[in-house]
């Protein structure tokens, strides 16, 4: 049986069409960066610091340079660059301590993996050998890896010049917090730790840079080719029109490839210097060190509520360990939590205080969800704690606080306007699939065998569709810019079409979903619509893919552009058939006169008329090619309800996820198969963090989880099959009614799993536990609750 739908459609949108991307991917014919080789190509490898913090006393490159096949070894001074890697998004209105972040370290290294020298040679294995021959003398400096200690007086300083490790403080609030707490019958406070994790896309990063005849072409495994072109141009002083960036097939990103990396700039620089194409492919052990991490917060959550469960005030303090440097969006990721700290609840007063602090670790930045998983984790774990404190059922507590259904906007005390929502309906739908009372009965039976079964929930909303310039830009919230998206639809002379999108997918399925949108509007089959992305030379400027923005912003741009093409087609048909343009409709793949379906033209016939323009309406330009830049009016706010059932072995502390049920609402489905796929992967990412994954540095700043041996990604054997369903509440923001779904699973799932484990352990006296819920930590919690030593 196939999940895909092969019945002839009235509309392609809404169908589970199997993907247009897949034939090349399942046959090994796709081209990822490392699959591309150029004549004369040489290899780059990086000498990286083994020290977490040290002065560079000397670098001796002579032995490496003397090796056969080594073309050059560069250090900081050789590059002669005036600026380092960019940091482009800071919270407005505050001072931010931002250190220089050079492509190659200058004078000091600040984290394990900080690049010190760049080796170029003619052989993939040979450059790795040569790296070992570069002798660097370090003078170690004191190290700090604990963000709380980093703020204490006398702490080692990551960057001496600031006199502090604090990067910035920033707050967002709304409503009367003091009055809210004064009104509360109960106030609880929890320390919620959201530990550091990796994006861990299975394709490592990679770069191939070719500078030839004054033009630079860079292939990079990136989510952001357009941003990369802009910064390459600026940092290397090459005029932007002469720089082309191509994101070829990209093997996953999850935020980790939403970045401007030293390796991208360094390879491009070396290619220009040497006149040779330069390739670098990341080793996984490099990736764990120097592909940005995410999360890493210690959150203090304080909530006030009435005896009946009504929330009166919510105050969160976020201490974010952002590592040694600030990369593209680093300082702004922790603050993103603040925008959705009301969650799906009528919280009348809310405040979030963020402190970003530096330590001798690599930088954090956006990882799948970027601020919203942290927010939802704080909210939903604390909701269960509050329910327990008040003796109210966790779902009943949620229902008493839900924002009632709304379809035309709900303004939170923060001034954020949610577009549409029906949170109770999502929870109702969830409970059609899972009966908590049944799980409780099962739990009682299993307990006799030493297995503790628990159920946990999470009801969430999030913010995506980055980003309305009106709201976030300089005249709105005050960020450096918003985020429109572009689309061009080009109808070819024979009647097929190409969509150029400014978004840059890396597994999501844009080539299929966007083709469905365009096909419906032009009377084509999706097979006749080719979707081109990820190449700065082929389409208009775009703002790439992250933050679940592609469909809600880029898909809407595609729809609007296809509508423009359809309007022109109708005008041509009306002219040729001597009818009124208002009477032309698209029916059965033809633009025909309403009421006379045999009087009409196919898109191919229209294209013929447009490109051989002997009979066009007066003043109409030839051609059938339109473009749109769409800047949304608002964000979109997907939501849903998730449930997780776990079994905990009290003897070993091992947690097994036995059921996971997800109801998500991202508006009307363009392709339900793609939605399910995004939800599955999102859930797995969060279950990985909740149960297994952790980027861990020891006190000396050494990365303990430096490979996939130690960084425990979940395998198929650890995860269950997922049960998914949807409600469909259209967004009012865009004509498709769509919201994002790429991060929803990740945003919802970590608190559901954590709550499930706490529920399971409650009979053993465990009231609270922080992620990662490894056997060791769970076992310790059980023993502590028993009064025994951990």
């Amino acid at each position: 049986m196939s999940v895909t739908d092969t019945t002839p459609p009235a509309s392609h949108v809404g169908r589970a069409l199997r993907r247009k991307e897949d034939p090349r991917l399942i046959t090994g014919r796709a081209s990822y960066v490392d699959d591309i080789n150029l004549s004369g190509q040489v290899w780059a490898a990086w000498v990286r610091s083994p020290e977490a913090h040290a002065k560079i006393v000397s670098i001796d490159t002579s032995a490496a340079q003397a090796r056969d096949g080594v073309l050059a070894v560069y250090t900081h001074a050789d590059l002669g660059m005036e600026a380092g890697l960019p940091m482009a998004w800071v919270p407005p209105g505050i001072e931010v301590n931002t250190p220089d972040h050079w492509v190659l370290a200058k004078d000091e290294v600040k984290h394990v993996g900080d690049p010190v020298a760049l080796v170029i040679g003619d052989d993939r294995y040979g450059v790795a050998d040569a790296v070992e021959d570069v002798v660097v003398e370090y003078d170690p400096l004191p190290v700090v890896t604990d963000p709380e200690k980093a703020l204490e007086p006398g702490s080692p300083l990551v960057h001496e010049q600031f006199g502090t490790n604090k990067v910035c403080e920033w707050s967002l609030g709304g409503g009367d917090l003091e009055a809210g707490f004064a009104e509360a019958d109960v106030i609880i406070e929890r320390r919620v730790v959201n530990h550091r994790m990796a994006g861990a896309a299975i394709e490592p990063r990679g770069v191939l840079a070719e500078y030839r005849a004054d033009r630079l072409t860079v292939w990079s495994s990136t989510q952001v080719p357009h941003f990369l072109r802009l910064f390459l141009s600026g940092l290397l002083g090459i005029s932007e029109e002469l720089v082309r960036v191509i994101a070829p097939e990209v093997g996953g990103g999850f935020g980790s490839k939403l970045q401007i990396y030293a390796e991208e700039i360094g390879c491009a620089w070396a290619s220009r210097k040497l006149g040779r194409p330069v390739k670098w492919i990341e080793a996984r052990s490099e990736g764990m060190m120097v592909t940005h991490h995410g999360r890493d917060q210690i959150d203090t959550v304080r909530v006030g509520a009435k005896r009946d469960g009504t929330i009166t005030a919510w105050h969160s303090k976020i201490l974010a360990d952002i590592g040694a440097y600030q990369m593209l969006l680093t300082p702004m990721i922790p603050p993103l939590s603040a925008f959705v700290m009301c969650g799906v609840y009528k919280t009348p007063a809310v405040q979030t205080d963020v402190v970003n602090v530096m330590t001798n670790k690599f930088a954090t930045d956006a990882i799948r969800g970027a601020g919203r998983p942290e927010a939802t984790h704080m909210i939903e774990v604390t909701m269960d704690q509050l329910a327990s404190e008040l003796g109210i059922d966790p779902l009943e507590l949620r229902r008493r606080n839900f924002i009632p259904p709304f379809s035309a906007g709900h303004e939170t005390p923060l001034g954020i306007v949610y577009d549409s929502g029906n949170y109770a309906a999502a929870l109702d739908k969830l409970l059609e699939h899972i009966d908590p009372a049944q799980v409780s009965r099962e739990a009682e039976e299993l307990r006799e065998r030493g297995i503790y079964r628990g159920i946990g929930f999470s009801t969430y909303t999030e913010i995506c569709g980055n980003a309305p310039s009106r709201i976030v830009g300089p005249s709105g919230f005050g960020l450096q810019g918003g985020g429109w998206e572009s689309a061009t639809v080009r109808v070819h002379a024979s009647g097929s079409a190409t969509l150029y999108t400014g978004t840059s997918p890396h597994g999501q399925g844009h080539e299929t979903g966007f083709a469905q949108i365009v096909a419906d509007r032009l009377g084509l089959d999706p097979a006749q619509v080719d979707v081109i992305h990820g190449d700065t030379q082929t389409g208009p400027f775009g703002l790439d893919t992250y933050g679940s923005r592609s469909l809600a912003v880029g898909g809407e741009a595609a729809a609007r552009t296809a509508n423009k093409v359809a309007d022109k087609a109708k005008a041509i048909v009306a002219h040729q058939l001597e009818a009124d343009a208002a009477d032309i409709e698209l029916r059965d793949g033809k633009f025909s006169v309403r009421g006379s379906p045999d009087r009409g033209m196919t898109l191919a016939e229209v294209a013929g008329a447009a490109y051989v323009p002997e009979n066009l309406p007066e003043g109409m330009e030839p051609g059938l090619d339109e473009q749109t830049f769409y800047d949304p009016e608002n964000f979109v706010f997907p939501f849903g309800a998730h449930a997780c059932v776990v079994d905990v072995d009290a003897e070993t502390g091992k947690v097994d996820v036995v059921r996971y049920v997800a109801v998500d609402d991202c508006g009307p489905a363009i392709n339900p198969m793609l939605i399910d796929g995004q939800v599955h992967g999102g859930i797995a990412h969060a279950l990985g963090q909740a149960l297994y994954e952790r980027i861990h540095y020891d006190e000396s700043g050494q990365l303990v989880t430096g490979t996939f041996v130690d960084y425990a990604l979940p395998t198929a054997a650890e995860l269950p099959s997922f049960e998914t369903d949807r409600t469909e509440t259209p967004s009012t923001v865009n004509s498709l009614g769509v919201k994002g779904v790429g991060e929803a699973g990740t945003i919802a799932a970590s608190p559901a799993a954590t709550n499930a484990v706490i529920d399971a352990l409650r009979p053993l006296g465990v009231k609270f536990i922080n992620m990662p819920l490894t056997p060791m930590r769970v076992w310790e919690a059980i023993n502590e609750a028993k009064g025994g030593a951990a």
């Binding site: 399942i26 014919r29 492919i281 797995a684 049960e723």
Partner: protein, 161 residues
């Protein structure tokens, strides 16, 4: 460059003789010497399985085999499984069941799944999950990969929790 040694490989039915460094990994021989770039590298530690190929009919991680160790062997890569228009049942099933997103782990997944089905033509869901333990995917949460393997083995894709 160290000295090289000759290696004979039969890859997807074609005979090749290569001169390689003794330390050259099979995966790099396939990719860089023979241009068969469908086999991928995702880690340094033989954890991810993106490089899985068949060596004399058995699924192996080609980043853990030296090219010289494969001397005289028959190797099947994803390119040898089928091509567009003539797909292997597993390729067809991965397509139909949306068993891939970014596609990077997919060739290894398909080769590993073929290894499972060769030994156990009607595996249960749990047998598939344990059989794929050596192959990592970050996109799909494995849900549709498991369904694809059930589908390719001619079984119902109704997975249970």
């Amino acid at each position: 460059m160290s000295s090289t040694v000759p290696v004979r490989l039969n890859v997807n039915g074609d005979e090749h003789t290569l001169e390689v460094e003794p330390r050259l990994l099979l995966v790099h021989a396939l990719r860089d010497e023979l241009g068969l770039t469908g086999t991928h590298v995702g880690c340094d530690t033989s954890n991810c399985g993106a490089c899985t190929v068949h060596l004399n009919g058995e699924a192996v991680k080609s980043c853990t085999v030296l090219a010289v160790q494969a001397d005289g062997a028959e190797v099947t890569t994803i390119e040898g499984m089928g091509s567009d228009g003539d797909l292997h049942p597993l390729q067809e099933a991965f397509w139909n069941q949306h068993g891939l997103q970014c596609g990077y782990c997919t060739p290894g997944m398909i080769m590993a799944a073929a290894g499972i089905l060769a030994e156990n033509p009607k595996p249960t869901e749990q047998e598939i999950r344990h059989g794929l333990e050596g192959n990592l995917c970050r996109c799909t949460g494995y849900h549709n990969i498991v369904k694809a393997v059930l589908d390719a083995s001619g079984q119902s894709t109704e997975v249970t929790a």
